[in-house]
Symmetry: C2
Subunit: 336 residues, 2 copies
Amino acid sequence: MPAQRAFAQSVPIGTREVPARTLPVPDTVSPQMQAIIGRPFNPAFNLVPETTADWKTRIDQAAALTVAALPKIREALGVTVEKTTIAGVNAFIVTPKSMPVGNRNRVLLHFHGGVRVLNPGEAGTFEAVLMAGFGGFKVISVDYRMPPDFPFPAALDDAIAVYRELVKTTNPKNLGIFGASAGGGLTITTLLRAKQECLPMPGAIAPGAPTVDLTKTGDTLFTNDMVDNTLGTQDGFVRATALLYANGRDLKDPLLSPIYGDVHDFPPTILTSGTRDLYLSNTVRMHRKLRRAGVQAVLQVWEGQSHVQYMRDITAPETKEYHDEVARFFDLHLGR
Amino acid sequence: MPAQRAFAQSVPIGTREVPARTLPVPDTVSPQMQAIIGRPFNPAFNLVPETTADWKTRIDQAAALTVAALPKIREALGVTVEKTTIAGVNAFIVTPKSMPVGNRNRVLLHFHGGVRVLNPGEAGTFEAVLMAGFGGFKVISVDYRMPPDFPFPAALDDAIAVYRELVKTTNPKNLGIFGASAGGGLTITTLLRAKQECLPMPGAIAPGAPTVDLTKTGDTLFTNDMVDNTLGTQDGFVRATALLYANGRDLKDPLLSPIYGDVHDFPPTILTSGTRDLYLSNTVRMHRKLRRAGVQAVLQVWEGQSHVQYMRDITAPETKEYHDEVARFFDLHLGR
């Protein structure tokens, strides 16, 4: 009996002990995607900044790298970017060189990813440039305020302010919203907020690997821990950004963790994740929740990919295929 | 330099070393599903029978357990089962007590799972009883021949013989096909064979966690190795059944591994898997392949579940939800 009790204490009933393993790079993806999947962890990936100044340094360094890469990507995809202000919020108008006739009266609103703190300013336009270029849509990318200076609800206030303004002049049925990771979470919380304000729903949304739960809840936060080479783990940097953003608020507040919200009456939704994604559970839990609420929600899961790797390399066939799928979904569900 | 070379030799570039971990039972699923997910491995799960007699003993013992459980399940779901023969092939007619009016002229053809060797006879009706009961469909469950006595192509010959016979009297548009695991693979290979014979396509199909690749190809065969407590691993019993079934044939033959086949002109398809499923990659690879071929293919992935656990307990809400989704899909796409 004492031995059993000791066992029960050290290994709770039902937990599974999984041995260490060596994961080969899958041969079921493109060479470009193999290079992304096979990339080692940056030794500094999980260091948590200690001061506000440290946070800003980390954010600025990451943004500088992205901004440096953007001109070539814009050129390759034939996309132009123009700074603007909408309802007092900084934003970028992202325009493709060529646009299908059916997209002329459509606009996509974009909330960038970056674990709630990264990708300020122009760096935040990266996903929007890809969607404009591959999908042939005009995109408005919102440069929402972020921690450390502006925790919750600044980002959501900015997101809803731009949405509120847009639906005054654009038929909401012609309007889609998309974003990856934190931007996918913000896409969903913006709709919860729009419901609170009795604003109309957009025509369709495309949250990619959305952060729908800021707590460490969801099976792949455990099974894909240190399997995912984008995020690595929920413990450390990711958790620190969640706490910085929440600023003391209950992490299960639906406007922080929309998996706890009411998603009835949501528009058609296309969700995306990967088999190695730390946020695969975030994604499939939201998919099931939307389906249970009667929403036309569809799911794509990419072979072998960690968090949001379907847009890491514009030459990867998976990147084009991802954007083709989302563009087709918007085309099917948005008004003209 | 020598040290670097030694490192490169022992750990190939791009592979990822993942440490051992303890996986808690997720709190994001029903209590019934927690019990299933938390179940330890049967110590004998990966023993490979050495002789034909050993295979038969293993198969008979497993079948006896399932057959013993079936009467209560049939009673709970209000389903009756009747033995029959179609085109010389053994089969079961599975009929629900109540059937929506819209399903009166519809039939679902069922190919059971069981890694190509398990679930002979009545044991094979388990999935059909659930679909008839939860979905309100008449189901014809095919008792196809299996190894060790009947390797490939016996199962496929039986499957296509029944299909060929059915489409003589039933409008193929009113006919759906479903099956889990090996039965999902057989669903897809039956369609490849039907295309070869210029038979019409059915109205829709529902392969659950289908075996679309008998080789050890696909990322979750590595990432979910010993995470999945249904199949455990591709190495051992699962591989042995693949070799027994293939009987010397190239494992990449599309009629064994339909991921290498041509799926153009396939009917609407709903695919299902789980985040811990060893066959998650099998499932998402086939989903992408179907989408690339322009097929209306949709994907469901269940939180925390290993291989085909969405039908392990008829009282689990996930089991009802799974069948509701598939029934809705068939209702949407089958003729009346």
